[in-house]
Symmetry: C2
Subunit: 201 residues, 2 copies
């Protein structure tokens, strides 16, 4: 096989490194880009460069942002004394999409996991306690919204224990039957959790 364009080969190789993109998709994308105007491809390349250049972490909540503090932390309308604790900034995205939560966030940037050598000091727990102890912004509720797996549970318990020393309500999001499914397809662990967490009708 003789390659006629090294530039195309290199673009395919780089695109194939992206998640969910094999060599065939990378080839399709590269050929698509070849057919686009220079401007469109430069816009894409620039968006990727800016992604790395301008995105930092908010020093308050730890989510990704272009400006520090982030638009949620600097939005006075969202100062309602509630902080939702999540594992990663993607979770902020997901929760924001629901338009259900109007307080602020705290991104741990990880989860306690002895298997992966991640302890309480490796995630932003200390920063959470600082925010809670900070009298500028009184906090009356912490909502734990971590994944319902072993690590998420352990981290939730750990944070709850630390917060016992403060006069703060600690809640967690409800785990139960997802909307739109049928009981038949639900695993036992979820079903038993749904029973244990039943609410008044």
């Amino acid at each position: 096989m003789q390659i006629t364009s090294e530039a195309l080969e290199r673009a395919i190789e780089e695109l194939a490194k992206l998640p969910g993109t094999g060599r065939k998709s990378a080839q399709r994308i590269a050929i698509h880009l070849l057919k686009q105007t220079d401007e469109k491809v430069l816009t894409l390349a620039d968006a990727l460069i800016q992604l790395k250049k301008s995105v930092t972490r908010c020093s308050t909540c730890g989510t990704i942002t272009d400006t520090d503090p982030c638009s949620i932390c600097s939005n006075s309308k969202r100062q309602n004394g509630t902080i939702c604790v999540v594992e990663e900034f993607q979770d902020v995205y997901l929760i924001e999409k629901t338009n259900e939560f109007l307080g602020r966030y705290h991104v741990l940037g990880g989860i306690i996991s002895p298997m992966d050598n991640v302890g309480p000091d490796d995630i932003r727990v200390k920063e959470l306690l600082q925010r809670v102890g900070n009298s500028d912004e009184p906090v009356n509720e912490i909502i734990l919204a971590l994944n319902p797996d072993a690590e998420g549970e352990a981290t939730s318990y750990y944070i709850n224990k630390l917060l016992l020393n403060y006069d703060i309500k600690v809640t967690r999001i409800a785990y139960g039957i997802p909307m739109g499914t049928e009981l038949e397809f639900i695993d036992e662990a979820t079903l038993s959790r749904a029973f244990a967490s039943r609410t008044a009708f």
Copy 2:
């Protein structure tokens, strides 16, 4: 919903324009890139910029290349008097992968299609005749490797008719039963073509 990073939003938006990439995949790719080193993302962005900057068409065969003439046209080992006619440069890629063909190519850059307002003058037929008439590189066989659909057939017939004036063998690649399939799953058109084109055992 409050967006904390415009740069991330923009990257997702641009990535979602790529073929086969919806908003969810674009988000996954953007988050993946955020976690990579600056260098890796710059390498990707640069590969895309170079793709547009350095890739041109070979003035002889019409395939894409970084240098004109392309590495196949300038490779004297491939001057064996055979030219394979294909619709697009992707076909050169596909045929090169088989390591079966050791001659040169001619990329038409399209196919005759009255429905799409593409006539013989819109594709590189004139350039093919020029190559055939050029005494520097004697051509003794033209292999037509166009798609076996109405447009491909029409274009093949048209080119064959033009080449009747020259002392050149015109062949076409075999259309028949693909390897590794079962007759049961083959459509009638393919099966009847396979019968018509049967070869001695």
